[in-house]
């Protein structure tokens, strides 16, 4: 694994170039270009806002500025799910490369993580402009932004590496991931506040719910951007234990994912 890591570092420019390619190619030949990075989450915002803000009246539940609450969660969640979905098929979809050229294969899933990350940063930038325009108070938690980004990236990277390697041998993984991510989305406090869970589920079920590391990550995003304690206590929840658990799990998953990837990498070219 150490040797793999050394090679990976030597090929870091390839990661940069592949990311650049992804970023350039995604909206090539489209009229709106990079604007799609903004349009996409805005459309989601409208849909969820109407569904949950207007119809289910989450706003009335004391959620001040529900629209910002939504954006605070949807943007990082989209970053996560998009990077995982793309990364899972990354090795298989680049079969000709994998079969014909040697390079550290982990750059394939990671390049998708990076390119999704790039779009995510663009979106967050726009979100902050909105926050300033609408004079939403920004809390000092904002300083944790890079750390949280790093935490989520570790988690997503570990998961992506593991799934993309397994997917070479069992293509079912790819299809399963789509469905699983959808379920996962609803098991994570993105459109509804976490208090809903505490109120409607028995405590043992809520405890299980909090085993989901993405829940903790999302809660932190909301704290940073939406400033949840100020904008209605319903969305605010922070447990140091849960946070520590998430950090440890993310790092462990990263190490495990990379280890598994390295173990399986040697047989990619035969199986693809």
């Amino acid at each position: 694994m150490k040797e793999h890591l050394k090679k990976f570092v030597a090929y870091r420019e390839l990661l940069y170039n592949l990311t650049l390619k992804e970023v350039k190619v995604r909206y090539k030949n489209s009229f709106l270009g990079f604007l799609w990075s903004m349009v996409n989450p805005l459309m989601l915002l409208v849909v969820y806002y109407i569904a949950f803000g207007v119809i289910f009246r989450l706003r009335a539940e004391g959620m001040v500025r529900y629209e910002f609450y939504l954006l605070a969660g949807i943007l990082p969640w989209n970053f996560f799910s998009l990077s995982v979905v793309q990364a899972v098929g990354s090795v298989v979809n680049n079969a000709d490369l994998v079969k014909k050229v040697y390079f550290p294969r982990e750059v394939l899933p990671l390049s998708y993580l990076c390119s999704s990350g790039f779009h995510f940063l663009l979106q967050e930038l726009v979100l902050f402009v909105f926050l300033l325009i609408f004079r939403v108070r920004i809390s000092p938690w904002i300083l944790a932004f890079p750390l949280l980004l790093f935490l989520q990236a570790c988690f997503a990277a570990g998961l992506s590496l593991f799934l993309s390697a397994i997917n070479v041998f069992f293509r079912d993984v790819q299809h399963f991931t789509d469905i699983f991510l959808l379920a996962w989305f609803w098991m994570t406090p993105v459109v509804y506040p976490v208090s809903f869970i505490f109120e409607s589920l028995p405590s043992w079920a809520a405890r299980i719910y909090l085993l989901n590391p993405m829940a903790h990550i999302m809660l932190l995003w909301q704290r940073i951007v939406y400033n949840s304690p100020v904008n209605g206590p319903k969305a605010a929840y922070f447990s140091p234990t849960g946070f520590t658990y998430t950090v440890v799990l993310s790092l462990a998953l990263l190490v495990f994912g990379y280890w598994a990837f390295c173990r399986l990498e040697g047989r990619f070219a035969e199986f693809i």
Binding site: A10, Y11, E13, L14, Y16, N17, L18, K21, K24, V25, K28, N29, N94, D96, L97, V98, K99, K100, V101, Y102, F103, G266, R267, A269, E270
Partner: protein, 407 residues
Amino acid sequence: MSGREIGAGVISAEPALCLEGVGKCFRLYHDVSTSLKERIINWRKRGYELFWALKDIDLTVYKGETLSVIGPNGSGKSTMLRLMTGIMKPNRGKITTYGSIAALLELGAGFHPDLTGRENIYLNASILGLKRKQVDRIIDEIIEFSELGAFIDNQVKNYSSGMYVRLGFSIAINVNPDILLIDEVLAVGDASFQTKCIDKIMRMQREGKTIVLVTHNADIAASISDRILWLERGEVRMLGDPREVSDAYLRAMRTRPEGSEFGTRDIVIEEVEIQDERGDPQIRFSTGDAMVIRLRFRATRRVDDPVFGFGIYDQMGLMVYGTNTRLLKVDIPCVDGEGTVEFHLPRLNLLDGRYYLSVAAHTRDGQVNYHWLDKLYFFDVVSPGKESGYLAMDCRVVIYNRSQTGE
């Protein structure tokens, strides 16, 4: 063609690539049991056979040496190259490389159609392990070599296949590694581009680069390499002097079938020989030469009304010409025991290229094949002219123009 001049490059006793007892094994799955039920039922049954693509290969390629690897299809040539690059890992033995290594396995693998040629150069070169700064230094050379000119800033999806391949080759060959692995890519591009590639390879030889070349073409192999390795069924059949090995290889290829055959074997085609007008076995012809295709067969029982035929195919597997005894209105009432059939072609109206030959014996209606040898043989045609295509046709030019006719 003769072997490369001794002393043309700098060959040292230092190894560049070492293969020690290398073996590579593939699993050939019989029947992939897809449903869970089948998997449970076949739980303990191994659903695959082991196939050793390479068996116990010991090989040292020295620094500055050019080694060609030849062998029939499925002999393990490409597997060997893939092991050398690290795309695959050997199941047995060890491979050690000294110095940077780059492989030309497939040209333009990893090009993105929506990016321009220039953007693709950076992307492709970094896949081959180059840094941006290094690419900056050689990009002009790459563009010049590719002969793409102003097209370099067009999207690659608008390129012709020739341009695509030229760009791929230019990148790979200008990456300038210590060890260059080349797989069957010399056959790309038009003749002048090919000459340029061979020139470039010779220049790299002079610079003391190590080159491993996989090819079907024993003549190219003999002309540019220091040693030739002849692989067969995953084993080293012969290794050594380029002339000797290529001669032995060509001799073996002429007589021994390679490829697929099928049929009921009521009639067995035991030997196929492609001959020139003097009746000598030959695989190189010029356009317009006479050719004889001679089949020696043996009928294992009395067979009534058989038909013998042959087909000539191009490298893509398309039939260029085919005929048989029925079409030629030769009735064979019955055969029993041994015999021969000869097809005489007084003028071979084919142009440059390699052609494959299939021969067959079947029933009159073609419903039952006694024996079909599919594209097991080949011959090369060289044409003196510069026409293009497959066929040499008589063509006369008449020009009507005021200034020439003087009207």
